[in-house]
């Protein structure tokens, strides 16, 4: 028994260690994953920042090209000093000059997909390519004053980038003053920036926006963004006035890069999109650890259950042995008495009580002649016979002496008379079966059975009273020639 409890302790210690190791592994893994997550975020931020910087360079290059092409009009005074409103020039001179300028514009602009590339004058006349769309926007005049006034007076370069001209959000305009009476107007479709601000297919969740310094959207790869409206405040708030930054929180990874004209390229990607692999790895780890834990718990339950089963068997066996007569399997005298007393004390609506005692007549002779082994066998068979008759009645059956047996039964559902009759019948049945079972022993050794039978109504009964009264009846049977019951 001592050895067994030692094993128990060892198993429990082992399980505690296993759980400890699993828990520690989980903690270490989570810590490692968090560290890897941080590193991954840093790396991805670095690469997206590099991509955003490349976009900044691309857009700057695109915008610079427009500025450079326009600046080439300053290569000759005939281009930039011409004034269509100069009254000292003849019509032919004007035509010559304008043809010269047109040819220059054609040369400069031919490799660019410009919508507009022309020069407007205070009389609203123009030379070069001023598109029908732009002309239509100013069909009542005012094209020169509109573009001229868009150039801030204090701007040394005397140029400006304009969006949403007369409500047109399809194109971006660049204007540059050539002389006090001439402004060059260049425009291109915003959609041209699709290639310049293309989102890599590997970052399809990323939104790239070109916004003004005031966060007004000029172009966005997100169809939900509307041009000429304010950028999503949740993104604008994070970047604030910062430029050249990368910011990351639980919601977004954001970059903001400033362009040479004051506009910004803002890239944003949901953090969940870029960290999806990391999230999956964490989930896999937790699932793995959970599976291992379940495995361990199941193993533990299995071991415990096996141990329990085995210990319970031992205990049950010991208990059974303590409670029962080892030879017949019937209750021993002490247990019989305890159980009967317990039943008598319990108030459970008993209507009738039966107490029966059986004693084998001439059993000594069986032992003496046939030997103790045979005698033991007779005792066992008698126990089996009692069981055969009274088990169905759910009665308590005990061996209370060497060849003495007792049966106790309390009835709740029948009256005393009915119980009396039932016990009588059972007793008769027992006698019949006894005769059949022990016919040979009866012939050889005169083995018979005497009994005392008490059936009483409800009341304050004590075990000793019942025992004594029944014993008297048994005595009467013995005295009156054995082999018979005496009912009282």
């Amino acid at each position: 028994m001592k050895k067994k409890s030692l094993h128990f302790t060892q198993i429990i210690y082992s399980l505690v260690v296993v759980f400890g190791v699993i828990f520690l592994s989980l903690i270490i893994s989570v810590v490692l994953l968090r560290s890897v997550k941080r590193t991954t975020e840093d790396k991805i931020s670095y690469f997206i920042a590099a991509d955003a910087h490349q976009m900044e360079l691309n857009v700057n290059s695109y915008l610079n090209n427009v500025q450079q092409v326009t600046a080439l009009l300053f290569s000759d005074k005939n281009y930039y000093l011409y004034d269509s409103t100069d009254t000292s020039l003849s019509d032919y001179q004007k035509i010559q000059n304008e043809t010269l300028i047109l040819n220059r514009i054609v040369d400069l602009g031919m490799m660019n997909s410009f919508c507009d590339f022309g020069i407007v004058y205070p009389n609203d006349k123009s030379t070069g390519w001023i598109s029908q769309v732009t002309n239509q926007m100013f069909k009542d005049g005012g094209i020169y004053s509109y573009f001229s006034s868009a150039i801030p007076g204090d701007n040394l370069k005397q140029d400006a980038w304009i969006i949403n001209v007369m409500g047109n959000s399809d194109r971006i305009y660049y204007v540059k003053r050539l002389n006090p009476n001439a402004v060059c107007v260049v425009s291109f479709y915003i959609s041209e920036l699709e290639n310049v601000l293309a989102v890599p297919s590997e970052l399809s969740d990323m939104t790239v926006r070109l916004v003004t310094g005031d966060n007004l959207i000029i172009y966005s790869t997100n169809d939900n963004d509307e041009e000429a409206t304010q950028m999503d405040p949740s993104i604008a708030d994070i970047i604030g006035d910062n430029v050249g930054i990368t910011a990351i929180n639980d919601e977004y990874l954001i970059t903001s890069n400033k362009l040479s004209n004051g506009w910004k390229v803002v890239c944003s990607i949901p953090t969940s999109a870029i960290m999806a692999d990391q999230v999956a790895a964490t989930r896999n780890l937790i699932v793995t650890v959970l599976l291992i834990t379940i495995l361990v718990v199941l193993t533990m339950l299995l071991i415990t259950s096996k141990l329990n089963y085995s210990v319970k068997g031992v205990v049950d066996d010991l208990d059974y042995k303590a409670r029962n007569d080892q030879m017949t399997g019937l209750l021993n005298k002490s247990t019989f008495r305890t159980l009967v007393e317990s039943d008598l004390e319990a108030y459970n609506g008993k209507q009738a009580i039966a107490f029966l005692m059986f004693d084998l007549d001439n059993f000594k002779k069986v032992n003496d002649v046939a030997g103790h082994k045979f005698g033991d066998d007779v005792i066992k068979r008698m126990g089996a016979l009692l069981r055969d008759v009274f088990d169905a009645e759910e009665a308590l059956i005990g061996r209370i002496g060497g060849d003495e047996f007792a049966v106790y039964k309390s009835y709740h559902d029948i009256s005393r008379d009915e119980a009396d009759k039932r016990i009588h019948d059972l007793t008769m049945s027992l006698y019949e079966k006894f005769e059949a079972e022990f016919k040979e022993e009866s012939d050889k050794y005169l083995l018979t059975v005497s009994s005392g039978i008490l059936v009483t109504g409800p009341g304050e009964h004590k075990f000793d009273d019942l025992y004594q009264k029944t014993d008297v009846a048994l005595y009467i049977s013995k005295r009156n020639g054995k082999s018979k019951p005496t009912f009282i």
Binding site: N135, Y189, N284
Partner: protein
């Protein structure tokens, strides 16, 4: 029992360690980069064409996710020079909107452009008649496919003519009569750009002399007196305010009433006429002008722009898919409408018919072409030659603005044209 427990613990520890360390650093992981076939396309035109073509290219890329189309576009003015440079330097785009005249210029023997016959699996050529295909075929090579047919047309503001009690002009004299009535109000009968002016003058010249300035091979065969006649007539039109000065004319003048009519390609009719129509003005297509009633007019027709594929293109099959989309795809046909004229492709026409889009001034112009087709010839490419037209413009300007005499101008123009003819 003790052994078993130890074994279980060992296994659990091993699994835990394996679960924590999933990466095998010694393995090389290779993944392919996602790249699409990149082709390029170029065109010229104005805002509406740019807008729907760009939208169409997005649609094409949606339908063909394996192809990316880069683009290059601009207005006509200067585009021809850009194209010349691109072709000469072999930097041209893979798919090109081309002018009919360029076929003879860049593919004299038919090998200057890719032979589209080889792409019959990609392009549904059954949408075109034999005659349609013949317009783009040189020396047995199908160099280009026509988008629509085009001719120069005269569009008039019928309300204005009615106001002056005039009929829509049908002879050259009718133009002068109309100018007489309108010039007091500073209204010109016709406004046009240089290119159309020259075609108008050429028509008058051919009707008057029954001769042409160029032979069938495009060689200049005119004389100094021929160009003198033309310059003189131009001056007459200008001095009598029949035509608005070229430099004053812009596309809005029909709408704002500065001119009573305009001369332009049928493919440009929406651009020139629609604003006026939208204002409620009755715009009608006039007959081709004749010297006198009953004469046979001499006008020309041409494919209104075509699609060709570069001989240098890296992926002809992808280019073929794009050309088929541009010509035959019902969705693109709807986007395009009749902006370039009524489409030649029967499947594109069917799409427009089903969507109730065969209407309006562009469609009327298309019908006008069909009605006059028997009297029209394919245009001589030289009549559209940019150098030739620039020369005409610079010399005629001097005469019109009295910087040179008629004789001086005629002689200079003849000399320059002879030079161009080589």
């Amino acid at each position: 029992m003790r052994k078993q427990v130890k074994m279980i613990i060992a296994i659990i520890l091993l699994v835990s360690v394996l679960a924590s360390c999933t990466s095998d650093l010694s393995k090389v992981r290779i993944s392919s980069q996602e790249h699409s076939t990149v082709i390029s396309m170029s065109w010229w035109g104005n805002d509406p064409r740019h807008e729907y073509t760009l939208e169409g290219l997005s649609l094409f890329q949606e339908k063909n996710p394996d192809i990316v189309v880069n683009h290059s576009y601009g207005v006509w003015n200067g585009y021809e020079r850009r194209y010349l440079m691109q072709m000469a330097s072999h930097n041209n785009c893979d798919v090109m909107q081309i002018n009919y005249a360029w076929l003879s210029e860049y593919s004299e023997d038919g090998t200057g452009y890719y032979d589209i016959n080889k792409l019959a699996d990609q392009i549904d050529l059954s949408s075109f008649t034999e005659e349609d295909l013949a317009t783009g075929t040189r020396n047995g090579h199908l160099n280009a496919l026509p988008i629509a047919y085009n001719t120069v047309c005269l569009f008039y503001n019928a309300d204005m003519f009615a106001k002056y009690g005039l009929d829509i002009p049908s002879t050259w004299d009718d133009l002068f009569d109309a100018a007489k009535a309108m010039r007091k109000d500073n209204i010109y009968v016709l406004g046009m750009v240089n290119k159309h002016l020259f075609l108008l003058l050429n028509a008058w010249f051919e009707q008057t002399t029954d001769r042409t300035l160029f032979d069938d091979n495009g060689k200049y065969i005119g004389s100094a007196s021929d160009v003198k006649m033309i310059l003189e007539f131009y001056k007459e039109l200008s001095d009598n305010k029949v035509i608005m000065p070229l430099y004053d004319f812009n596309v809005s003048n029909l709408e704002d009433g500065a001119v009573a009519g305009t001369v332009c390609w049928t493919s440009d009719s929406i651009r020139y006429c629609q604003p006026a129509i939208d204002e409620g003005t009755d715009i009608v297509i006039g007959d081709y002008l004749r010297v006198s009633e009953g004469d046979q007019s001499e006008w020309y027709i041409k494919p209104a722009t075509m699609y060709a594929i570069s001989i240098n293109c890296s992926d002809p099959e992808s280019c073929g898919r794009l050309v088929d989309f541009l010509l035959n795809d019902p969705d693109f046909a709807v986007l395009q409408g009749t902006e370039k004229g009524v489409p030649v492709s029967s499947s594109a026409r069917q799409a427009l018919l089903e969507n109730g889009m065969l209407s309006g001034i562009e469609y009327q112009a298309g019908e006008f072409i069909n009605d006059n087709l028997p009297h029209m010839n394919l245009i001589n490419p030289m009549l559209e030659n940019a150098d030739f037209q620039d020369t005409f413009k610079s010399v005629s300007d001097k005469y019109i603005y009295n910087e040179a005499t008629l004789e001086e101008s005629a002689s200079e123009l003849h000399r320059e044209l002879m030079k161009l003819a080589g």
